[in-house]
Amino acid sequence: MTEFTRRESLTLTAAAIGAALLPSAAMADDDVPTAKVAPMDLKIEKGAELRVLRPAKFVEADEVWWKSNTKKYTDATGIPVKVDFLSWEDIRPQTAVTANTGAGPDIVIGFSSDPQVYAAKLIDITDLANYLGAKYGGWMRLAEIYGQKWGTKEWISIPVGGGNGPTVYRKSWVKEAGYDKIPNDLNDFLTLCQKLKQIGHPAGFSLGHALGDANGYANWLLWTHNAYLVDEKGKIALDSKETIAALKYATELQKHLIDGTLQWNDAGNNQAYIAGKIGLTFNGISIYYALKNSTDPNNQAIAADTLHQTQPFGQSKIAPQSATPMNAMVFKHTKYPNAAKDYLRFMMESEQYGPWLSNCIGYWSQSLKAYAKMKFWDADPNFAPFRTAMDTSFYDGFKGPVTASSSAVTANYTVVDMFASVVTGNATPEEAAKAAAKAAARYYKNA
């Protein structure tokens, strides 16, 4: 079927063994329920060739399966596809250059608000989105938020998947602290963290300049207290009594966390957890993935003692977490728009998407509902929170429109720094909320 280099097949085997031999290429046909939908009639351009830009992998299987699926596409259609994997921080500037010069890759797989920013330069792919939605049981809520042009039903990108960070914890230590699972009530959660610290296995959440982790924690603090950055119209709503309550709670919680969380970057909690220094944190599957794929028996033991659970709800009715979506955009400058759409369609079809998704074991969560039915999700209770990760209506810059402004607030750590300055006693909650609202307004002034 496909040819792998020795190295790739080795990692593939390792990933497969690590993931407890998940159903991979030999996936059962009924694993993904599909509706009978007329195939898309895309007139693929003669002599088409495609260049694709996408974010680099964090788990090996992501890149291995993406490449092998792409090769499958080339073998089936004869269309050469060149995929470049770019570090996450380089994606934005490269997308900007592509958009401004009208040259370069035909498809860019970017993040979050990018399709909204470049909406005028993207081809409408509503037909493809509708086809996929109809065939695979509809789109997850978060996929609709990020895939459609804001406030319309026009699709300007295909959300490929989302990465989120639920609670990761050590079963035995949480039990020792008197809990069978992570409580949803915030006071109980505080008590749990307090007890974890007493038994020498504290929890830890980054409030440093860690783009993913710290923003995730800060958003969780806001949303569990019914606080939010902006209202539906994009007006700053951060300076509220709910935010003050969240700040006070964070200050209380900080006392029971491990020292040094203000200097953690995105790898800080991974390292501390794997070294057994913390018993609980919020993170993606990467900690578990690394532990599972380690040959060190100590790490295997930690993996066996690790569980994932959706973040505590607090006052929120739905899981107070979002996922960072990876969304595919087709630029108008492409000479082969139909080939580009066909490539995306191919990558999203169950024969390709299924094995890719299942081998990433939750690093990416599916954007189409039917993939939640796949059996691999049941293979390990640790996968459960990732199965529903995109079933949420929370997003960066909730409740306002998805714009470049919400991404700028995230990139400038405005909300993170608000919490960081209060939990360290460098500002009162009232001062910090006012200052952060003013700082956030800087990015929303043009919105």
Binding site: E89, R92, P93, T95, A96, A99, N100, V117, Y118, L207, G208, H209, L211, I258, D259, G260, T261, L262, Q263, W264, N265, Q271, A272, A275, K277, A404, S407, A408, A411, N412, Y413, V416, D417, A420, S421, T424, N426, A435, A439, R442, Y443, N446
Partner: protein, 322 residues
């Protein structure tokens, strides 16, 4: 006989010689030659230095964002930065960082240079080792420092707590604003000393030993020799090194970005790191450029002060010393 033959051959040669072609004359024309020799350098400077600098300054006066070329907005970016506490915090941090590290780097660098100027065994080897921090790519050394400053895995904390038992908890190097600033200053000093030590060492070696011998005969003390011979003769090179060091430190980016990214709550953001954060990850190109442009006056001032204030010597203007 010989002489006539020679004369004949000379005559024949001069007869054969053609008048200079226009090309030869063109290349013999000095202004043209100068221009053509400078062209490659000028071209490189224009394309890779003037154009980006000009574009950066232009962006500072626009509301450009990533994906939108923006429009001219005059001084709007600067006015808005004037009201931005984070910007002023970064200015403050940059000054503290530059001022403190420069003083420490110079004190230690000069001391090291004086030590290395003595006759010591394995001189060449030791001098090579001293250069190591400067040779290692900044990002690599930054990562090493990041581990040293880690709240859970710091080797310093490990030795103090687990080996010596002098402390009962791990040190939170980067967890509070001042601790973080000092930690970064230490890392910068470590990286900056070799450059200063080796350059000053080169300066020390140009001082003729006869001056010291004469002073010794006159009964000058060690301090007097240092004060009256070493310092004045070292001053010209000292001022050049100081200028360069201030420029490097003021525009430092890698060390801070790799270790703290400006955290905790912006207390270690330098103007350079803040400019990058606003412009690229935050996609506000205009505002980021404005922060970068705001560094220019400070840099020019720092250069003027160190260069002319400390090192004004006639030989720098091409004249002999008095």
């Amino acid at each position: 006989m010989d002489a006539t033959a020679q004369a004949a051959s000379v005559q024949r040669l001069s007869f054969v010689r053609q008048p200079d072609s226009w090309l030869v004359r063109l290349f013999d024309y000095k202004p043209f030659l100068v221009a053509i020799c400078m062209l490659p350098t000028a071209g490189l400077l224009l394309v890779f230095l003037t154009y980006p600098l000009g574009l950066g300054i232009w962006l500072a006066f626009t509301d450009a964002t990533i994906g939108n070329p923006g429009e001219f907005v005059g001084l709007d970016n600067f006015i808005s930065l004037w009201d931005d506490p984070v910007f002023w915090l970064s200015v403050f941090n940059t000054f503290v960082y530059t001022f403190v590290t420069t003083i420490i780097k110079f004190a230690l660098g000069l001391w090291l240079a004086l030590l290395l100027n003595h006759h010591i065994p394995f001189k060449a080897f030791i001098r090579a080792i001293v250069l190591l921090p400067f040779i290692v790519p900044t990002v690599l050394s930054a990562i090493a420092w990041w581990w040293i400053f880690s709240p859970q895995f710091s080797i310093v904390s490990y030795v103090l707590v687990d080996r010596l038992g002098w402390l009962d908890h791990y040190i939170n190097f980067l967890g509070t604003p001042w601790a973080a600033r000092w930690s970064l200053i230490v890392a910068n000093v470590w990286r900056g000393i070799p450059f200063i030590a080796i350059t000053l060492l080169a300066g020390l070696q140009t001082i003729p030993p006869s001056l010291y011998e004469a002073a010794l005969l006159d009964g000058a003390s060690g301090w007097q020799r240092f004060r009256r011979i070493t310092v004045p003769l070292l001053m010209p090179i000292l001022s050049v090194v100081l200028t360069l060091s201030v420029l490097f430190t003021f525009t430092d980016f890698q060390l801070v970005y790799a270790i703290t990214r400006g955290g905790p709550f912006n207390s270690t953001h330098l103007m350079a790191t803040l400019a990058f954060q606003r412009a690229i990850p935050g996609s506000q190109l205009g505002e980021g450029a404005a922060i970068a442009v705001a560094m220019i006056p400070f840099l020019v001032a720092a250069t003027l002060v160190t260069y002319f204030g400390l090192g004004r010597r006639k030989w720098q203007q091409g004249e002999a010393n008095d």
